[in-house]
Amino acid sequence: MIHAFAYLIRTSIRNRLASQARRLRQPVYALAALCGLAYFWFVYFRRDASGRAGAPVFSTEIGAFVPLLILLYLAWAWVFGADKTALAFTPAEVSFLFPAPVTRRQLIWFKLARGQVQILLTATLWVALFHKGAETLSPVLRVVGFVIFLSTLNLHRLGVALAHASSTEHGWRGARRHALPIVVLSAIAAATTWGLWHAVAAAWAMREVSDGLRLVSLALQTGPVSMALWPIRATIGVAFAETASQWVQALPAALAVLLVNLVWVARADHAFEESAAEASAIQARRIAAMRARRTGGVTLAPKVNATRTIPLAPRGSPWVAIVWKNFMSLMRSGGLQTVLWPGVIAIGVAIGFSERSEVTAKMLVALMPFLAVMLAFFAPMFTRNDLRADLLHLPMLKTLPLNGRQIVMAQVLGGALPVALGQALLVVAAVIANGNTGTEKSVPLWLMSGFAVASPVVLIALNAANFAIHDGIALLFPAWVRLGSGGPGGIETMGLGILTFLAVAVALLLLLIVPAAVGVGVYFGIGAHHVMALVAGLALGSVLLGGEVWLFIAALGRAFERVEPTQVA
């Protein structure tokens, strides 16, 4: 059986590469590939030639928070089972492999093996893109380190998905089979929470944010928290080692953690095999889900509450129906909650705590605008309620009584507006918190007022630009983009995400040049340090950006009218 799997993986990779190479005969793909290669040459070879010494990937203080973030990610996956792609198989795999004489264990090993190829690609891309000039650690060791790090995360995520599936099928009996990892992770989480409690309480009473962060960072690197987070630090260590000797020292521990996860997944699979009938039922459900969806990977479909709805009047601009449809999709897929919850929590914290703790207020003032901007950049990566999701329905979209510009505009707004809503909540939290930062405000009142007044138009323009670029990439290069409404696609598809992110960043930068220059000109022209100058500068810059986005959408509309289903399939 292993030969059949190896053949499938090998030939799929070979054919995919051949298909990608053939696609380069099309001028638009060839041009994009040349731009990509030029970028790589610039950031890789030119930076090497500069001979600058490589700085550590993270400063010690910031680096201390990385294991904590990974712990939070794992805890989230355990509690909410959020990673739905971990057990996904493609429709073809379900059709051919599930009815074949293959054990579930073999299927899981196949999925792991297939994932390793993508992990290797992701690690190579990551190292190539973030390689620093005159770095002491060889790129090969760095890639191996990243492969170990990402493979461990991937294995753990698969284990969590199996544990969730097991408990769903067998109830408590299923959950008991995963008692050991649950106890270990709970112990790590409890020790970390307990250890950080005092540090956070002490930081709470401080006046400066940097002092508070330093205190928490110290707690993360010492005492029980440091011991509790050891397995996670061991995994990270091999990926972010600065020198070859550090890498060699970190390797045994990282391999040990990888091995533990591997054994756990193998045993989890064994537990699943105990009930062949129930396993078959799951397979049947998967096949049913595949037949129903026919797009992307096949996963255990989550139950969706479809009782809540938003009315849509039959009268009015037809394209609004697409904005409505995308909003409903975001609401029901859980994406809306992901976008809105940070703002709701931040407002709650700002109202409830910022008056009592100045450091909390200052932290909110500093973090919320940053988070709002980050949301603009990252939201399109995890909310795909725009053209990227609907391109798989291209034939249906093209029969709608709308022109290409209207369809693209509706798709862009369908993505941009909910994100702007989430960002507006973050801005409100920052404004409330700024009011509680003592007589000497963190941000001068005129500056905060200016940002708050101009933020709706700024955020909508920024989000629209971002979503338009994502949709443009999907429309112009459908073969290079993952289409459909699924989530980010797991650790193994991070490479594709990184490349898309870079392409979007470059395009956004180009779009921002003129609006930013005009905005800054207006600000200084009217008179700096004045609220009206700030509002006028931001508003005019945003209107200009909106104009650029409008022209871009019009061009994409024409491209939409030209594109044919065979180019997207």
Binding site: V304, G316, P565
Partner: protein, 247 residues
């Protein structure tokens, strides 16, 4: 009505459709038949505005589908063989979505009877992922019929339907045609084509090999006289092998 003139579609050096002409008047049902790969789906997709013809023209209710696409599509419904539905809209929400797109102001009065007619009333609040293949097809049909189109283009409309659903679908097509809708029906079910269609367009390798009512086709091909539609189809489209297989 539908008017197609010298429709051609090339993919590189491959010609999928090569100079097809036909018309469908209000009340007529045109059966589009041909073997696999003959160019039926390409023709239907050109008609529905999904793909642009390489040359030639398609007029829907007097509007050119390329030059005046939005107006042409307002009077058109295309029901594909594989229903494309939105994962997160319920059955009823799909219809409300269509109502807004096509400006169906009396949607409230139309939705309930349509759902009843297609036996979807109990599935009003169900998402497509929880529907059977047949139910999904019925929903796609309901979406196509909601705005009372002047032109109905159906690609294998009975796929996935149960016997009751097939009978109702046949009755629906007949009723729509009687009410003045121009219908194009592509199907491999020749009994369905024989039962419903007022005229036929037989295509093979992208070219029209016969067009007209069955008597008109027999008139131009006297050797087909007395043959069943299946035998006529095989004679017009099949190679020697398929004729052998049929005998």
């Amino acid at each position: 009505m539908i008017a197609v003139r010298q429709l051609r579609k090339h993919y590189g050096t491959f010609t999928a459709v090569n100079g097809i002409d036909f018309e469908v008047q209000p009340g007529e049902v045109l059966g589009l038949v041909g073997p696999n790969g003959a160019g039926k789906t390409t023709t239907l997709r050109c008609l529905a505005g999904i793909i642009a013809p390489s040359s030639g023209s398609v007029e829907i209710c007097g509007h050119d589908i390329q030059r005046d696409g939005v107006a042409a599509k307002r009077g058109l419904a295309f029901i594909p063989d594989e229903p494309a539905l939105f994962d997160y809209l319920t059955v009823e929400e799909h219809l409300r979505f269509i109502a807004r797109l096509y400006g169906v102001t009396d949607a409230e009065q139309r939705i309930a009877p349509l759902l009843g007619e297609l036996e979807l009333s109990e599935k009003r609040t169900t998402l497509p992922g929880e529907l059977s293949r047949g139910m999904r097809q019925k929903l796609a049909i309901a979406c196509g019929l909601l705005h009372d189109p002047n032109v109905l283009v159906l690609d294998e409309p009975l796929t996935g339907l149960d016997p009751g659903g097939m009978r109702r679908m046949r009755a629906t097509i007949v009723a729509r045609a009687a009410a003045g809708t121009s219908v194009i029906l592509s199907s491999h079910l020749l009994t369905l084509v024989e039962e419903l269609c007022t005229k036929l367009l037989v295509i093979r390798r992208g070219e029209c090999v016969a067009y007209g009512t069955l008597p008109q086709i027999v008139e131009t091909h006297p050797e087909l006289a007395g043959l069943s539609l299946e035998e006529v189809f095989l004679a017009l489209t099949g190679d020697g092998q398929s004729r052998d297989m049929s005998t």
